[in-house]
């Protein structure tokens, strides 16, 4: 019996943990943005204008359903500002163009590289002198998994 095929009317689907999903509402702990300067001692009527909290998801993510996070490994992209252990924001809704930094599938593995397209020539280029570019000949298909839109680099352990 296939548990996914039900024969009756719909009840709810399984609960979804959505931690890595941009929140629909800012999480508790978001900082309220005050739209006016603070003046001591005066109970400001402008408090009515406290704006919404800033949600970092809103800044980093354009297509919620198509956005995934990927961990960068190694040093092949340091020239582009991507370091080992950095967090990459990957948007699958975007179309990769010449110059895009992409997650591509090479030999069944994910790799992060800069995409170069010149006419029919397609190449994945590292941003590090020690790494050779990967060339794709005519008929060889390059599988682009998603476009990297941001890198999040942490300065603390």
């Amino acid at each position: 019996m296939n548990p996914m095929k039900r024969s009756g009317p719909a009840f709810g689907r399984p609960a979804t943990p959505s931690i890595l999903r941009p929140a629909a509402h800012p999480r508790p702990g978001g900082r309220p943005l005050f739209a006016h300067a603070v003046r001591a001692g005066f109970p400001s009527p402008a408090d009515d204008y406290v704006a919404d909290t800033l949600d970092l998801n809103e800044h980093l993510i354009r297509h919620r359903e198509a956005t995934f996070f990927v961990r960068a490994r190694g040093h092949s992209m340091v020239g582009a500002g991507i370091h080992d252990n950095d967090l990459l924001v990957v948007d699958r809704a975007l179309t990769a163009r010449h110059g895009s930094i992409v997650i591509a599938v090479v030999d069944g593995e994910f790799t992060v590289k800069r995409l170069e397209k010149r006419g029919a020539r397609v190449r994945l280029r590292a941003e590090h002198p020690d790494y050779a570019p990967i060339d794709f000949q005519d008929g060889q298909e390059l599988h682009v998994w998603g476009v990297v839109t941001q890198v999040i680099h942490s300065f603390v352990a």
């Binding site: 719909a10 689907r13 399984p14 931690i19 359903e65 995934f68 190694g74 997650i103 994910f110």
Partner: protein
Amino acid sequence: MPRFALVDGNNFYVSCERLFNPRLEGRPVVVLSNNDGCTVARSAEVKALGVKMGTPWFQMQDLAKRHGIVALSSNYELYADLSDRMMSVLATFSPDQEIYSIDECFLGLDGFERQDSLRYGQTIRQRVRQWVGIPACVGMASTKTLAKLANHCAKKGLAGHDGVCDFERLEAPQRTALFRSLPVDAVWGVGPRLAHQLGERGIRSVEALRQADPATLRRTFSVVLERTQAELNGMACLALEDVTPPRQQIQSSRSFGQYVEDLPALEEAVASYIGVAAEKLRRQRSLTGMLQVYLRTNPHRLDAPQYQKGLTVPLPAPTDDTLCLIAVARWALKKIYRPGYAYQKTGVVLMNLCDAGTVQGDLFSKGHGNPRLMQVMDRINAAWGRGTLRSAAEGIDKEWTMKREKKTPAYTTRWDQLPEAR
């Protein structure tokens, strides 16, 4: 005339796994049920080998070796997340959506230009494929039952083009020929048993069911089948259900990874099922008025002594408090527990659910439980993962948890399990 589309992710669980393991592309892959028991999803390559849904994994060891079949434990966290993403993408294609199961949904297409339907179907497929990475098929027709059948045809390549099939775009003779060739069990709601009974009366194809006498169908079978027939003939009887009704009861149970004999381990298991069930309860803003606990040995082990027992306990007042419910459940478990048996499964059922907003207060009780504690618990568990904050009754080691040896990481829901790129 109403119009419906059914969109369905192909081999959904397998497709979810392939998205993060591109090496699995083109290889035969199965996903196994809880405890790595039976096949619950098969890739096209596995279907081609003749493996049926539900085949126990141990029965296909030889085949697996010969053909290099990859078996994976089910990774429901991943499937649920990708399902959510797929459904949100699909919701942008119609104001009316009914999510029917984890991998399929109906879309209302009333008022959409019929001429463009095939192109629209391709846009839907392409969008889901690109954004969420899941290949899908689209069936369109004038009733839900027909849309589901059209989807079946699209998926099997029996009609339509490139994974999209619109019955309205087929000429009448073409459609009749197609329906003649489709077995009756391809119809939504016609299971193997009903198909067998219909077959005995000479109704073997979809076309035969369409032509059968409605009154006889109702008399011999049911009004439901009569309605199915009407739907097959283009009369819409089923509307989209856009609101999923809150569940009337909540179950949480698992088979153990290994047999469990002693009470403390069973108590931990029961407590943790309550944890899961009570969280669901609070999410749908319900309270439970009755709690059932059950346990049983493995009925298929003929050599071992058998025991099974359940106990249902009405609660003094409806509650959604994990700690209160655990206390009741442990009490009930102690009542039904007998030493000396190898238990295979235990579970809890929350029943008599009611809306948390409409409960009558009990004059003599001060209210049960601690709602603020529950709120904090749910919030912490939402942020840091299920079970981060839990009752100590659930135990720490959980030796009884089920076997999922071949589970892939929760790529999209855990910071420490993200996919990696070099």
